[in-house]
């Protein structure tokens, strides 16, 4: 076994302490040593930093991916909930109207629209089995939508008020001026056969008249936008903006006479 004499060991330790004390007190030695070690220490520090950065980046990337997935799922759920909330609001509105209204009403959902642009119609999910027959009026809480023209067992076809084949006997609410409201396939309706001295102005409300055999009296059709003179010069006409957004109907109410 390697063995140092005791005296030699003590001298060696004392000598090492003396060297360390001397080196510590000599700043030039310290500086030069630190300077010599700086590049490799910096390099190792940088590598350590980068390496931990890579590890953290990877971990963060995985976390971010997971969080993004969660966000997507929640966003989808939120969208569904918003849709449900809107539907709930609409149905509450319809139900409230149904309960308040003196009319006998059947709530129906729109399931399809006309496949072409030359007519304006809807298909609803209630038919003969629910008591719906041709000739019944269709409304929403906002106003008139149209009338049933065909009913199958479980579906019915609704001719909207902006279809040119639709003619509604109507009156101006303020002046009780009568006229015939027709569809034009556009967003507005036209009220025709108004005499030259008809009392009608922009902003007047137009409602169904009691002369109509299909529609109950007093259902809101729309508001007068503009009044003009027909090409023949004999009559005047009025452009009417429907009270209901006809391109955006999801639930309707069918009036049972």
């Amino acid at each position: 076994m390697f063995k140092l004499p005791r005296r030699t060991l003590i001298y060696s330790v004392l000598a090492a302490c003396a060297v360390l004390l001397a080196a510590n007190s000599l700043s030039c030695f310290k500086n030069s040593t630190q300077k010599a070690f700086k590049p490799q220490l910096s390099l190792i520090g940088m590598l350590k930093h980068e390496f931990s950065g890579i590890i953290f980046y990877h971990r963060n990337m995985l976390l971010a991916e997971r969080a993004q997935n969660d966000i997507d799922v929640l966003r989808l759920k939120l969208f569904d909930l918003r849709e449900v909330a809107l539907e709930n609001e609409r149905l509450n509105n319809v139900l409230g109207f149904k309960q308040k209204s003196p009319l006998r009403l059947i709530v129906a959902r729109v399931i399809a629209r006309s496949p072409e642009s030359w007519n304006s119609s809807l298909i609803i999910n209630k038919g003969r089995n629910n008591g719906i027959r041709p000739g019944m009026a269709v409304i929403t809480p906002r106003g008139l939508v149209g009338s049933i023209i065909e009913s199958a067992d479980n579906t019915s076809k609704v001719l909207l008020i902006n279809d040119p084949n639709q003619g509604i006997s109507s009156i101006v609410q303020r002046s009780r001026q009568e006229g015939l409201v027709n569809g034009t396939l556009g967003t507005n309706l036209v009220m025709r056969y108004l005499p030259d001295d008809a009392s009608i102005a922009s902003g007047d409300m137009v409602v169904t008249s009691e002369l109509s055999q299909v529609y109950p009296k007093g259902i809101l059709i729309g508001r007068v936008m503009n009044v003009g003179r027909e090409f023949s010069g004999l009559n005047r006409y009025a452009l009417i903006k429907p009270a209901v957004d006809l391109s955006n109907i999801e639930e309707v109410l069918v009036i049972i006479p």
Binding site: A112, S114, E116, E150, K157, P164
Partner: protein
């Protein structure tokens, strides 16, 4: 089997036309998917088959229209026969010729339907008439490559 696929395609196109989303309407116009299918049959099938499925497509469309049941079945058969006669005179192999024929058929179909509305005594403003006539025909033509491809896949 192929005939079954044609019937299935008619059902799919009719469903798409009936539930066409509002945001895909172009100036309030929607494309006539069943008309594209009916005319496309002429390019891939014989006249009898094209007429048979064309009339079925027209009848399916008529079922969902409020008035004039049968007008589309009649019009589709006329356009199919016209396209067939034209295909005997000129080559219809080029896609632009096919698109041209579909555009002409869509324009004539819209003209027939529009005049039917006007002749019935209804008032349609000139702007709306022209919009329905031209924009619907253009939109129909723009969507036709997709349906031509589907018909081609089934006919092969």
């Amino acid at each position: 089997m192929r005939k079954l696929y044609f019937l299935l395609l008619i059902a799919i196109l009719a469903t798409a036309a009936l539930s066409w989303p509002r945001f895909l309407n172009f100036f309030y116009c929607k494309p006539d998917l069943l008309l594209i299918f009916a005319v496309a049959l002429v390019f891939y099938e014989d006249l009898k088959t094209a007429l048979f499925f064309g009339i079925i497509a027209g009848l399916v469309k008529d079922v969902f229209l409020p008035q004039n049941f049968g007008i589309n079945a009649l019009c589709f058969s006329v356009w199919i026969y016209g396209a067939y006669r034209l295909s005997r005179q000129i080559s219809t192999k080029e896609s632009y010729v096919r698109l041209g024929i579909i555009f002409a058929a869509a324009l004539l179909n819209n003209l027939a339907l529009g005049l039917n509305v006007v002749v019935a005594g209804n008032i349609v403003p000139a702007g709306i008439f022209l919009r329905n006539l031209i924009i619907t025909a253009v939109y129909t033509t723009l969507l036709s490559p997709v349906i031509l491809k589907l018909t081609d896949l089934i006919a092969l």
